[in-house]
Symmetry: C2
Subunit: 338 residues, 2 copies
């Protein structure tokens, strides 16, 4: 059996996460039992939610156990199978974790999904045509539910979720405004991703200043907001929301390190009759088929051209992940494992 | 024509509202034009939303103009009519404002509504079977939408909204927990209003302490919350909300005086996948008929027995209103004008 290099969570972050929270280990892949499949991972997906799992306190999910392989989405190829529905060579997507191989009990529903790579590159199933894409779809379609002509805003605009959000919102004839970190990302958002405008939050010291920039970029106010960040950005957006606006809360990465992250003016929710809703896309599996069809079509027609930042080799995963948390990636952050 | 005593807004509050913000004026009621009705007010309703209108900044409504009669709901009797649908002696409910008489253009839809006082006392149309009752109904039925057996919580529990909320929630087989100010109100909530438990927020110095009391009163967590108050109370409730909980934001009286009122842990909205929604009942006129039927039935069957605090005479309105803002009333605050 092949050697399998794994990244375990070794200890929990105190404040910021660092590469020292992780440990690399090499093990033998075990022989397969009946119903099991051995998958060689080609790509590992790195996503902000993983930071939340590194903390000890229960969030919406149990914390990542210490001394175990970090959880994570993977795309790869079946190399050996004791399950009738999977054959060597099949391209598959699953939650294989931060490692080069995984052994999957394929009878358990939802553990492993075969994908077609004839029109969509394998890695896209971890981004635009995967969990991040469906996340954008759910927040936009099911929570914000915009009408044509409305203005919608997304933070972390050039990430995997933000770029899918832009394409989905443009398809619904919305004005789409992004918030991102740095002039390069903002230029990319407008030139390549189809945003009507993009604001560099790093140019703003406080919510009042950012809010002023939002006013200029959103002359008709904001009808829908997709939140990946929290903190000052959310405060600034709230000041510009129109009556009956909708806010989909998907991430609050600004608070993952444990610092207090209050909302300055919650009374605006009342005075503007806003709706805020937190959600986790894995709890809405019923929408995945519909969402994936639309996302696949947008990719196929080049209306969604996701960018990827790819680091090489499993040993690079911790550093790439820390970079993601600091916004150093450009588009979907992946680790290439072959 | 009769003399009409009015209360005008004379100047805007700086911090807390005081009786000196108001001015009493006596005028003649003008002769009626075609289509107009002269109403003698028997009761004036005092409600927390009026405090918001006293500020200069636009909230959900335009601010109350200076030098004009304070807005407010009124119940009274037609004394003269130049409109075919209204006759002297008709009991009517409208938005007559803080004054003894009003002249109403009765052709305008929604200005004046005839009510039947054979089974429901006239004053109740300003409380349990009026705007506050429908407010409770909308938040409970349309936003919280509880299942039988769920736990719902309401702040300002013994007020006009809170008492209606309790009766409506008990009719849906919920566990209903109130939050109120002082042991007397808490005892009344449990003994008379049907609350399963009621917590005196004045016994708690901070959100953590109040949250602990909520844990004891809500052993299965909180599924729905109706917010009238904001501030520490909202922080405490958020800490006890169950996954997929719903929060109806109706009032944030704690912030009316302009002090900052941040929300300490907005990330809980995400981790618990909560839904928050601000609303104003006057924007949902389509539910009033259905809500009023249920509220009238609850009153008629003595399942909702609203308590009233009644001050006497229009000149007493400012002081009664300041008392309401401080929670000195017990149940629905009214001013009797005859």
């Amino acid at each position: 059996m092949p050697q399998n290099r794994q990244i375990l969570l070794d200890n929990r972050p105190v404040g910021e996460a660092t590469v020292d929270n992780f440990k690399l280990l090499t093990v033998e892949t075990p022989p397969l039992q009946d119903g099991q499949v051995l998958v060689r991972h080609h790509f590992l997906s790195l996503d902000p939610y993983m930071r939340g799992r590194m903390n000890a306190g229960k969030s919406y999910a149990q914390p990542q156990p210490l001394g175990e392989v970090m959880i994570g989405g993977t795309a790869g190829e079946v190399v050996e199978s004791k399950h009738p529905k999977f054959q060597p060579g099949d391209k598959v997507v699953g939650m294989g974790g931060w490692q080069e191989y995984s052994v999957v009990d394929a009878w358990q529903p939802g553990m492993l999904r075969k994908v077609d790579t004839s029109h969509v590159p394998l890695s896209y199933y971890l981004g635009a045509v995967g969990m991040p894409g469906v996340t954008a779809w759910y927040g936009l379609v099911k929570i914000i539910a915009p009408k044509a002509g409305e203005t919608v805003v997304v933070s972390a605009a050039t990430g995997a979720v933000g770029s899918a959000f832009a394409a989905l919102a443009k398809a619904r004839d919305c004005r789409v405004v992004g918030i991102a970190g740095g002039p390069e990302k903002c230029k990319y958002a407008v030139d390549e991703l189809g945003f009507d405008a993009c604001i560099d939050y790093r140019e703003h010291k406080d919510a009042a200043s950012l809010s002023k920039a939002l006013k200029a970029a959103c002359p008709n106010g904001i009808d829908g907001y997709f939140e990946n960040v929290g903190g000052m950005v959310l405060d600034a957006v709230l000041l510009r929301m129109n009556a009956f606006g909708r806010i989909a809360l998907c991430g609050m990465i600004a608070g993952y390190d444990g610092q207090p992250l209050p909302l300055a003016h919650p009374a605006l929710i009342l005075t503007n009759r806003l709706k805020l809703e937190g959600f986790i896309v894995s709890e809405h599996m019923e929408v995945w088929p519909e969402a994936l069809v639309e996302l696949g079509t947008l990719v196929g027609t080049a209306k969604l051209r996701p960018r990827e930042t790819v680091s090489q080799g499993i040993a690079s995963a911790p550093e790439a992940f820390i970079g993601l948390l600091k916004g150093q990636n450009f588009g979907k952050q992946l680790v290439k494992l072959i």
